[in-house]
Symmetry: C2
Subunit: 226 residues, 2 copies
């Protein structure tokens, strides 16, 4: 169980802030997969009323980060194989659509370039968690190429779920490391407007990433059932 949280003052409602706080805790793995989030315990820990917490839970359920079961409570979502397959299907459609729509010189390209450089620096420091985060930011920036708040929002939901998947795995360094040079190649292709080649490379990346994640999950599950 995590420590109590403090909430700063801004124009957001308390329920929104509680939801965001829990969201962050979910992403960093402060709760176990399928862990039950007891309203009484969490509202006490956060120092908010149960009603406020329930509002926050509604927001998080909408985002796919919690699974709400009537009369039993809210549980940390634990995406399995079916979810991973679907997540990558979404990525295929959205990321390829974004790359197809991209215009040369789009500001998101500079952001992607910067993220690749940061990932290289993080790798030489051996900071694999940072590499993973930057890799995800890279792909998120890719979706920005099509300038659609709704698509970016949809992609964010999927990314958050993917982070939950990674949190179920013990060692994710090898999931991110091979992709730095792929990202470097991708950004070069995009900057030069070579869309078809970029799509082809992206397709290969997504397939490879999906297989790696599925394999890691199965190894994890195999180790757990023994």
């Amino acid at each position: 169980m995590p420590e109590e949280a403090l909430f700063d003052t801004n124009d957001q409602s308390l329920a929104t802030k509680v939801a965001e706080r829990i969201r962050q805790m979910l992403i960093v793995g402060a709760f176990a997969p399928r862990e039950k989030l007891s309203e009484i315990q969490i509202s006490t820990k956060f120092g908010v009323s149960r009603n406020t917490l329930r509002e926050a839970f509604r927001l998080l359920t909408s985002q796919g980060l919690l699974e709400h079961i009537p009369n039993r409570g809210a549980f940390v979502a634990a995406p399995g194989e079916a979810a991973i397959l679907d997540i990558y299907r979404v990525r295929q459609v959205i990321q390829k659509g974004a790359v197809t729509a991209a215009g040369v010189g789009h500001p998101a390209l500079a952001r992607m370039r910067d993220l690749v450089l940061q990932a290289e620096a993080a790798r030489s420091e051996g900071n694999w968690q940072r590499v993973g985060t930057l890799n995800m930011e890279f792909h998120r920036a890719m979706v920005e190429l099509c300038d659609s708040p709704r698509l970016s929002s949809c992609f964010d939901l999927v990314l958050a779920e993917l982070r939950l998947v990674f949190r179920q795995l013990e060692d994710t360094a090898h999931l991110h490391e091979p992709y730095i040079h792929l990202n470097t190649k991708l950004i070069c292709l995009l900057e030069e407007g070579r869309t078809e080649e970029a799509l082809s490379d992206l397709d290969a990346y997504l397939l490879k990433s999906e297989r790696s994640v599925l394999a890691a999950l199965q190894r994890q599950r195999g180790a757990r059932t023994k």
Copy 2:
């Protein structure tokens, strides 16, 4: 203000049912664009407590159907030009991605074929509202071609917003009528596996539809400001 609602008994929580009920009312235009949904009035009308209603509002806000402004309340979303542009960007990416991923013989194709037949029947009865609904169902079935619950879910949110747009317009018959024969052509191409031609036709449809909706909204706004 709408009438009171009754809620049947099933395994859903009351908040979820209230949210769904309000969602339906939004889609059929029972509330005006930008109308403020007073917690006190609506909770009284529905016979539920304010806390339960607030949970429902959280769900609807997540779906983009309500706009929640802290300390001021919840308002019916009223998508404008920027939203319409984005909605069609989303449609471009998701629908084209679904068509690209479609396999010949996919069950959704039969569903699309059936919907086109129903739309033709509705047109000969002069039931334009029905034609519009069936047209939207047709495109929703198209997204089912890629078998992704998350993409379908994302598309549903966008469709719901599009319905809010249509509800702002006085006469939408001419928005749907020309597309029956286009849908008929599309389903033929898809059934024959002629994906490139289907993509080209879909692209033309989406552009044309976007322009029609934007023009109708501007006419509506022009008429309102005089």
